[in-house]
């Protein structure tokens, strides 16, 4: 799934494939290169990831169940994370998250996962990074105004959320993203938050 090639080289290859010369570096590229997490991928892989992402949102109920079973496990492993050290666990865990969620949801690693509140459709795939619902520019066919080839992330999110048990989670107002958390593990944060909050509260009450 992940091409193990250095990025500039891959960039050149993609540019050559698309008949553009001279190639641009990734940052100044006039076309949006497909990525899984932070890894640049080829066009066919982008299409595959896109279809998988739509499929995941359509099976939001199933993924909700999976996540519900999975979350307590991550939280219960708190002693393990603590003994390894949250800081040391961070990097490998983030990589695992990036690959697994990247393949399933085209996760952008914002570090503050709200997939279960957005019908299992990652809102960071919205070109406007909208985390609270669709903008007013959605096309009549349900596609994105910025990228007309793509289904609106929030059309998918709404349909996905309606299949989920916690269908109301989509109505919660999400606060602005903390950009410092970009690339960090959302799972570890959940584990740490759930396990350490009571301790802090105890300390506060004493």
């Amino acid at each position: 799934m992940e091409p193990d090639v250095k990025r500039p080289l891959l960039d050149e290859a993609i540019q050559a494939l698309r008949g553009r010369w001279p190639p641009f570096s990734r940052d100044e590229s006039p076309i949006r290169l497909a990525t899984i997490g932070s890894t640049v991928v080829l066009p066919w892989q982008e299409k595959l990831v896109y279809s998988v992402r739509l499929w995941a949102a359509r099976h939001a109920r199933w993924f909700e169940r999976l996540y519900r079973a999975f979350e307590p496990v991550i939280v219960k492993l708190h002693p393990l994370w603590k003994s390894v050290g949250y800081q040391r666990a961070e990097k490998p865990m983030a990589k695992v998250e990036e690959i697994s969620k990247g393949m399933l949801f085209d996760c952008q690693m914002c570090g503050q996962c709200i997939l279960s509140s957005t019908g299992m459709s990652c809102p960071m795939n919205c070109p406007k990074s909208m985390r609270n619902g669709p903008c007013g520019g959605v096309m009549q066919n349900g596609n994105c105004e910025v990228n007309p080839e793509m289904r609106c992330v929030w059309v998918e999110a709404w349909e996905g959320s309606q299949k989920m048990k916690e269908a109301d989670a989509i109505h919660v107002v999400q606060l602005p993203v903390d950009h410092r958390l970009q690339g960090s593990s959302s799972w570890l944060r959940v584990a740490r938050g759930a396990s350490e909050q009571p301790v802090e509260q105890q300390e506060a009450s004493q």
């Binding site: 006039p30 070109p127 009549q140 349900g142």
Partner: protein
């Protein structure tokens, strides 16, 4: 000449405590009048006279003017500057804040600055993507979205803190607005999204162009069921279409504009398409007024601004009320806050 816009000094003194702003728009709406707001096209110049000339055509017919913030992602004079200029003359303005060009540091600074300059209304928008405008190579910011922007400004106003938690000594007293587009998918989600915006702090709503009345009625009925109509003032967007061709172009090229075929057919069949466009607009305003929960209209007459006064006059929605303008006021009423 009588001014009856529900914003007299006596009323201000008694109600000011419970109002969010000292602006006339909030007073007109809370007094139960049918409000009229209009979109003000920003000039591509640094000449303040251009701004005043554009505002003057609405004199006596609109309660507030929206100064757009790089609408359609095109570069123009800033909304902040236009509002500041117009506020000096005593006009009521709506500052449009879009998330496309500024991050939370810049936006919060602008909210404080705008309020200090006398701007009483702010409309929180996500903004168009840069690709539709004249600078498609620009970096899209989108640090906040319209919802978190609303929440941010409401927090500045009500909790007197920045998003960082740092305290303000004087909060901005502003009437908070948001946009809605009931005419595009996912239709079922749209009333809930309105609910979310109200929860985040929206007090008035201006919608995208309304040409599809049945769709709007469904949206309003659903919003009523959700109990939203008592919590905010809704001003559907209207505007005259210049011709069938313009209408066709708009629905193809402007994201979010939905114009039913019936409207285009009616324009095509008319002898004078421009006049017919205005007639459609007048009829729509009159029909919208009858819908429960509609508190006013927001007129967007791009390049047809000079017809707005006539359209409002013919629609009869002001019922003899004359909104404030420099020519009909005896006092500037600049400093009644």
């Amino acid at each position: 000449m009588s001014i009856n816009d529900g914003a007299g000094r006596g009323q201000l003194a008694s109600d000011a405590q419970s109002f969010s702003s000292a602006g006339r728009l909030e007073h007109v709406l809370r007094a139960g009048h049918f409000a009229v707001t209009a979109e003000l096209a920003p000039p591509d110049s640094a000449n303040p006279e251009d701004v005043y000339a554009r505002a003057r055509v609405f004199d006596g017919y609109v309660d507030s003017m929206n100064a757009t913030d790089g609408s359609g992602a095109n570069c123009h004079m800033s909304s902040m500057a236009m509002c500041a200029l117009l506020t000096r003359e005593g006009y009521e303005t709506v500052l449009q804040i879009s998330c496309r060009d500024r991050n939370r540091i810049a936006i919060q600074g602008d909210v404080l600055g705008g309020a200090a300059l006398g701007i009483r209304n702010m409309l929180c928008l996500t903004g168009d993507g840069v690709q539709v405008g004249d600078h498609p190579e620009a970096k899209p910011v989108f640090d906040l979205d319209s919802m978190s922007l609303l929440e941010t400004v409401a927090r500045l106003r009500d909790k007197h803190v920045y998003t960082s938690g740092r305290k303000l000594s004087d909060p901005p007293r502003v009437f908070l607005g948001a946009a809605a587009n009931p005419f595009v998918p996912p239709h079922d989600f749209r009333p809930y999204r309105l609910a979310k915006k109200i929860a985040a702090g929206a007090q008035f709503i201006q919608t995208q162009y309304c040409f599809d009345l049945p769709r709007f009625q469904t949206f309003m009925a659903r919003s009523r069921d959700l109990g939203l109509l008592e919590k905010c003032f809704i001003l559907p967007g209207v505007g005259p279409l210049a011709s069938a061709r313009t209408a066709e172009w708009m629905r193809r090229h402007i994201p979010g504009v939905h114009i039913p075929d019936a409207i285009i057919k009616r324009l095509e069949g008319a002898k004078d398409q421009k006049a017919e466009g205005r007639n459609i607009c007048i009829e729509l305003i009159q029909q919208l007024r009858e819908i429960e929960g509609v508190s006013g209209v927001h007129v967007m007459a791009h390049r047809q601004e000079s017809y707005v006064a006539g359209i409002i006059e013919k629609s009869g929605v002001l019922r003899g009320r004359e909104p404030w303008s420099p020519s009909n006021s005896t006092t500037r009423e600049r400093d009644y806050a």
